[in-house]
Symmetry: C2
Subunit: 345 residues, 2 copies
């Protein structure tokens, strides 16, 4: 693992809050975390709310290893297991809460903010005698007696891979499936900028142990509601370009949501297709969500800062991905935003 | 590399046509190929017609290494370099033909059939004093004095990676970009079933040498014509499911092609979105190409054989991907094909 905020609040290993000694801090946290997991007889593991493949795959992989070594492991996900992850080995054992408060160790995967496990899961974690956070979001919270946090990892699953090896656990097919799902989810199948040589090498190891990247891709990414695909269709049918093709935009109208019985979550991913127009430097998706303001998603290619555009309308985000809201009507929102987007070309 | 048809037709290394000795045959072909490339002072390298990222990336990577060692290397691509690959280092040096017939070695990348380099490129390859085929399509042709053919490699780029190492070449950033493009193209960014641990480990090495998987993905896959995206939109707007959602289908109408000024090539990839409907076992795309028969693309998930369906209409393909043609009108073609598809559920 790389540089990051590996710390042990009360352990014997060196604790570092940053600086040049991070690597050894992380190694210390790794050893401490492995030691705690080996010692604990009853462990509760929590995912964050609105769980994705990384938080679920990481928690389940740890649970498999703990159960294989004779320990008890309870995995809690307040929002359950989304349909596209029910195939994960062990998904059927995930609970949305537990009455038990008798745990040696509480583990939170993929967030450092205890509140993000949800109010019904939190009490069991808080009651555990010791706590461990395994996460790759360095700026998120400070939960955990032991904090195994590495922002250079593309996914929490990669950190769990190191952790399982430190524990001396056998990485069987079930664990390999869970961890490859975690990695594939958080790297968009190795296509996001967070993908590193280490990500690819860990994935190679997991494929060698039986995990199937093609099958996982199909289960996670090619498994969409009919309404979401039809929304994508309507949005792309509205696709236009301007300013010599440098700006591409599309919209989803209120009547599209209504006719398809679709929710706004089902527009996820559409803006990526808008930005995919050859020659476009920025892609915009306008969503006329019934009864709400016009929501705009902005995505750009390297060299164009959409955050600056979004901020003009009280929104924000990152250089390559941002969002903002404008008052209806749709046509006026489009006119205003396009004018501002053109100023930044 | 794994098992395959590595052979040396006239070399000193062991030649094998298959059987249990394939590995050593491949190793022999690798050593012979490296030796020939090191000795040759003038090399001509050919891609196949309708070139993709694998054939171009492989040929250019070899050309970079040859030029770095002081040899002359001419890369020929009869159909030039498609827009989405012009960023490849060295793409500007690619010629569509050459008058020269004075080459020590002719190398064909990513096909074993000489005809597939195109009639204007073929004479230069044929006139070369020796020939080398580097390919991962084992059943395709038998071109080459030395045949470095490995069907266990997901891409020709992976074989070139081994070859460059056998040559003792320095894999610089330009070569890494070319080879990662080859791998990403042929594995769909590590999401096709051909992805192996070796694929991922070679990719890790290339990323370490500076190749950027996110940038390459964006250049290759998120770089689509406006018409192709609008065609996708219209097709998805027509999306329907039947038989408890197990069959999903969509169509592109003649008027869609006409109104968008789109060619049939621009429908590539649409059927993958059709199959992506949650619960669908098979996805069908009907293309009403103006003045032609109705073309049908069929894609399925594991457990449903679309080849059997396509064969009923005189078409064919593989278990998970097939195609066939039916007479117009569109509605009748849809009715016939859906009835047959339902029989195979």
């Amino acid at each position: 693992m790389g540089r990051s905020a590996g710390t042990v609040k009360d352990g014997g290993a060196p604790s570092t809050g940053g600086g040049s000694d991070c690597r050894s801090g992380l190694a210390g946290a790794l050893a401490q975390a492995a030691s705690q997991l080996r010692q604990a007889r009853r462990v509760v593991l929590a995912t964050h709310v609105n769980p994705d493949g990384d938080t679920l795959g990481s928690a389940l992989a740890l649970a498999h290893a703990l159960r294989a070594s004779g320990s008890e492991a309870v995995v809690l996900s307040q929002d359950g297991v989304p349909d596209i992850y029910t195939w994960l080995p062990g998904a059927g054992t995930v609970l949305t809460q537990t009455e038990s408060r008798d745990f040696d160790l509480g583990v939170v995967c993929d967030t450092g903010t205890l509140a993000r496990v949800g109010s019904r899961v939190r009490p069991a974690i808080e009651a555990a005698r010791r706590s461990l956070c395994v996460d790759h979001h360095v700026a998120e919270g400070d939960f955990g007696d032991i904090r195994l946090v590495d922002s250079t990892s593309a996914s929490t699953g990669e950190i769990v891979w190191h952790l399982l090896r430190s524990m001396g656990a056998h990485l069987d097919r079930a664990i390999a499936d869970c961890l490859l799902c975690a990695i594939v989810t958080d790297t968009g199948s190795f296509k996001y900028p967070n993908t590193t040589p280490a990500t690819l090498r860990i994935a190679a190891d997991l494929v060698e142990r039986g995990a199937d990247p093609a099958a996982i891709n199909e289960l996670v990414f090619e498994n969409r509601s009919l309404a979401s695909l039809k929304l994508l269709g309507r949005a792309l049918d509205s696709l236009q370009v301007s300013h010599d093709g440098q700006i591409a935009w599309a919209h989803v109208r209120a009547r599209d949501y209504e006719e398809l019985g679709a929710s706004d979550e089902e527009t996820e991913g559409i803006v990526g297709h808008v930005r995919a127009v050859r020659g476009a430097r920025v892609g915009l998706l306008f969503r006329e969500i019934p009864g709400r303001k016009i929501r705009v998603s902005l995505r750009s290619r390297e060299g164009y800062d959409v955050n600056a555009v979004a901020q003009k309308f009280g929104g924000g985000g990152h250089r390559l991905a941002a969002g903002c809201s404008l008052d209806p009507p749709l046509e006026e929102a489009e006119r205003l935003l396009l004018a501002e987007a053109a100023r930044h070309l």
